[in-house]
């Protein structure tokens, strides 16, 4: 069959793969075998179809479109072929041929367009993006003055900063925020978070807020939760990463009194090795 299809492809002047697919389609339609179809095509013959394949709306074209084309010397092209056209005689007449605004097909053109400059659209979309970026992202993210009030930036130790990376890579922020807002829902969470916070703010709260977690629980409690006590997923962390993460959470204390008053003795005792 490959020889036949190659011969048919050569005769029709179209790629062999398309010829094979088209032969299969034509064979199904006419009840012939694929080889028979290919033989006819290879000999330059045609096979009539039960119903001519529909010529889509592509056949129609207004003369303006042709005039706008820069390559007027090039002969007008045939419409998108519904292959195989089984020889040149079945190829519909050129769409650019009609004159006086006539169309080959009775169907109206549907992909209606207007002459414009797509580059102007490009300029517009870039300008719009820049505007939205400046107002919607840069503006609100700029640090604001907190004149003499207080700061949300916590003095994390080296171990805690390493723990913050662990906190991020594990994906804790997908379920926990570190952001207390001035709304009723957040009463008791800790000091309201300001825009100079160096905690991982997050945007979902499927679990408790952790901005001030160090004031509420001890190191052993934190470690127990991380390793799978209760309903919290067990995180497979190396001992070093676990210590760092515990340090980060223990040092997450936003209430002013919290640093001087650890939650309990045990928490204070275990905070030491975590920071060392």
């Amino acid at each position: 069959m490959s020889e036949l299809s190659a011969a048919a492809a050569a005769a029709l002047g179209i790629p062999e793969a398309i010829v094979e697919r088209s032969a299969a389609a034509r064979a199904t339609e006419t009840g012939m075998t694929v080889d028979e179809v290919l033989e006819v095509w290879a000999g330059g013959g045609d096979i009539p179809t039960a119903a001519a394949p529909p010529i889509p709306e592509e056949v129609a074209e207004e003369p303006e479109a042709a005039e706008a084309a820069p390559d007027e010397g090039v002969p007008p092209s045939p419409p998108p072929a519904v292959l195989p056209p089984a020889g040149e005689e079945t190829v519909p007449p050129s769409p650019a041929a009609p004159s006086g605004g006539e169309t080959v097909s009775g169907k109206p053109p549907v992909l209606v367009g207007e002459a414009d400059n797509p580059m102007a659209v490009l300029v517009g979309v870039v300008a719009l993006f820049v505007a939205v970026f400046l107002v919607g992202l840069v503006g609100p993210a700029l640090p604001a003055e907190n004149p003499g009030a207080r700061s949300s930036e916590l003095p994390y130790s080296e171990a805690a900063l390493r723990g913050q990376h662990v906190y991020q890579s594990v994906g804790c922020a997908s379920c926990h925020t570190q952001m207390a807002r001035p709304v009723v829902a957040d009463v008791g969470l800790g000091a309201v978070t300001l825009n100079d916070s160096n905690q991982v703010l997050g945007s979902r709260r499927f679990g408790p807020d952790l901005s001030d977690v160090g004031s509420r629980v001890s190191a052993s409690q934190i470690e127990g939760v991380i390793t799978g006590l209760g309903e919290h997923p067990s995180l497979s962390l190396s001992p070093g990463d676990l210590d760092d993460l515990v340090a980060y959470l223990l040092e997450s204390q936003t209430m002013e009194a919290a640093p001087e008053e650890p939650a309990d003795e045990e928490g204070a005792a275990e905070e030491e090795p975590a920071e060392s």
Binding site: E64, A65, S77, A115, L128
Partner: protein, 485 residues
Amino acid sequence: MAATQTADIRALLGAGADDDRVAAAHFLVGAVFLVLAGALELFALFSLRFAGLSPVSFGRAESMANVTVMIGFLVVTLSGGIYYVLPRLTGARLWRKELAILGLVGTSGLVVIDLLAVVLGLGDGRQPFGLPWWLHIPMLGLLTIPFAITMMTIRRREEKRSFVTLWFVIGGATWLPLLYLVYFAGDLPFVSSLGEAYTDLFFTAGFVTLWVFTVGSGLFYYTVVKELEIPLASRQLAAVGFWSLGFAAVWWGTAQLVFGPGPGWIAGVSAALGLAFPIGALANASSVSLTLQGHWEKLGEKPGVVSGVLGLYLGVVVAVLASFASFPSVGSVTALTAYWEAIEYGALFGVGALLAAGLTFEALPRVSGRDLSSLDRPRSFNRWTVIGVGGVMLCLLAAGLVSGYSWVAGSNSAAYVNAGEGWAEGAGAADVLLLIAFGFGIIAFIGQLAYAAAVIGTVTIGRAVPQEVLVYRTASAPEGDAADE
């Protein structure tokens, strides 16, 4: 306005088949990634409800699902759609189709690497992808490819009149790398925690609005007009839809941090400008509905068009819900809750998948030379996607409202401190809804399997049919970098 046929009709015999193989390859790969994304999202929902039983935390599972559906499915499939319509609307051959294939291979490989990086804990946990910073660089490069191909192909166009789809394609292809550049910039050391949070939300909201809604709607304009052979009802309405979506890009993202540490004015601005989102979605849905007026009965044999229409309508629902929650009064309950998870899920797995199917189911037979293997599979996809995604959305929305109200009521009544030991009791009601959401997630996954079966079945066992082959007017034009200016 003078009506004209577009360059859909121009071609050089046979030359277009290779171009269309590029699109077909994108559709195929996208289908595989949709199934993978659906499985990962199902796993993420499981992790959310049964956190203690899951071997991988919800955060990592969610990141893996996000990168798979957003990059692996939506970027790949909609890029394939762009490569499908560009030659048909410009009359020019696709610029450097080998670059498009390189982009497909590179993107697919990078998604796999991304998944490994996240599951191995190498990522930085930043939503939505949680990738390590060094993976952002090749990703940015790969996302620039559709932009380069789009603009270079348009630059060499034969057709001087633009069908509306071209605007959406130009917009989406331009905005995507810009969005990712901004997301990447969030990793820079001088960016504050607040800036990083805003950047993550900016990217997620922008991806949904500027890529999924914009490109998906734009491509569907082409599909519905082409497949049903009816003219577009209103070019002006499409313009409203396009520019409104561009304007609405980020506001429902920043609105999620309402009452957070950002400036107070952003809440009001987000609420006001966020109204552009439902306006854009509604304009596109209305435009298509008007176009279909008097032709609805034709949709029985066009499951792809049905998919697209469903996608546009679901898009209106998603946009209205997002805009509604952007108001500070509503945000005081819905912010930080599963409500926003519902919006994102519905936008990606609902609107995105349906709009992608609206293109794929109709375009694939044209580019592959094979008819849809079965009309039942696309119909199953439509049915199970609407039921499954709709169910998940409803459950997550309800879970968000329940937990939001619980926090407020709990704090008001001093019944518990929501950050401490009373959390589980306060959020208990939402747990039931999360369990039901998982059940609906399984239904949605069945729909995703049907999508993949329809796409893969078409190119493997679909009945051979006459193939549409592009015929370019400029027979001698070099395929590469020569512009015709």
